[in-house]
Subunit: 192 residues, 2 copies
DNA sequence: ACCTGAACACCGTTCAAGT
DNA sequence: ACCTGAACACCGTTCAAGT
């Protein structure tokens, strides 16, 4: 890549991170190009689609998540690994507003620039689930798709301003359903 | 309202129902106006926003849902009432693609044309939950917001093509978390 | 090679001009 | 009263023209 092209590319990525952090994943590509000081056409040749841009923005974090899954699998018990990875992933979905919806859409069509990363995260989660199921600490009537659906659904809900305040509690509720013997399962005595 | 205006209004509603059923809630207002054979400006004066249009499209069903809650509260046990109303509501969210996201957004801002209906549904659900909690059949550490969040999150997930096939099972998983003593809770023996 | 402005077909909003 | 076409400011896509 030519030097000026490389400079444009990194400039775009830096600015995109700022703009998206501020205005969410649905911000117009034109705005990003404007704030990066390049033509819209230039932005679109570096990143032909919005998802291509986000693939570049997220790949580091997504790779870290798949790696984290393997790491947790080694270091702790299967149920704890699943639980804390679940939390990590939900937390990740909050990195930018609207990014969960994009990932869920990408998960559907293999042509998306985000498809590969999503698939990797998906199977990393499926592994953790399977492991916990073999030990009997995760409920047996679930598969990787269910896990991914619950995580993204949760991420989407927490994305909504009206549900955000209950975020931690909602995570707690949903993780409860996954583990057969959740830690501190004393909700009968708890109060809202 | 003048006779021709009334005719336009009902024509718009009929056509909108068709178009939205086919293309989802995000279809362009222009398309609806086009297929209804009226100018775009006409459509927009009858329904100034997309949400105003949907309020008209959904109000019958939404009213039915709030009424159904009261009906169930009388006719069956608190946990069964909560459970079957939950299912009804999730089912309703599938009436048009993308309608859940709109309702969740409407739930946030009181200026939305859909706000009132959403609030009514919300409090109907909260009542059912409270009733079941008093009997000890629904977990105590939940409130109406959590219930609404779980339902819409589930509706959103089922809206995604990749998660749709697991819809019934996902509903089963999430309802399990709400009831303290779910019916047929034998998931340890079940297989995916 | 790489960048860019402009043309294009779309969107929802607004309003002056028609009946 | 009600309807409508058109102008407007936006969007993402595409491409011929520039360096």
């Amino acid at each position: 890549m030519r030097a000026d092209a490389e400079k444009n590319r990194s400039q775009i990525l830096t600015v995109a991170r700022e703009v998206v952090t501020e205005h969410g994943a649905d911000v117009s590509m034109r705005d990003i190009a404007r704030r990066a000081g390049v033509g819209l056409a230039t932005l679109l040749r570096h990143f032909p689609t919005r998802e291509a841009l986000f693939e570049a923005l997220l790949c580091t974090d997504l790779d870290a998540l798949t790696q984290k899954a393997a790491e947790l699998e080694r270091s702790t018990s299967a149920d704890e690994a699943l639980l804390s990875w679940f939390r990590k992933l939900v937390e990740f979905t909050q990195s930018y507003r609207g990014v969960v919806a994009m990932m869920a859409a990408a998960h559907t069509n293999p042509d998306s620039a985000l498809y590969a990363s999503c698939a990797a995260v998906h199977s990393a989660g499926a592994r953790l689930l399977l492991h916990a199921q073999r030990e009997g600490t995760a409920r047996a009537d679930m598969n990787g798709d269910d896990l991914f659906a619950l995580i993204t659904a949760l991420g989407w809900a927490v994305d909504q301003p009206s549900f955000a305040p209950r975020a931690d509690h909602l995570v707690h509720l949903v993780t409860d359903v996954i583990l057969t013997n959740p830690p501190g399962n004393d909700f009968m005595k708890a109060t809202p």
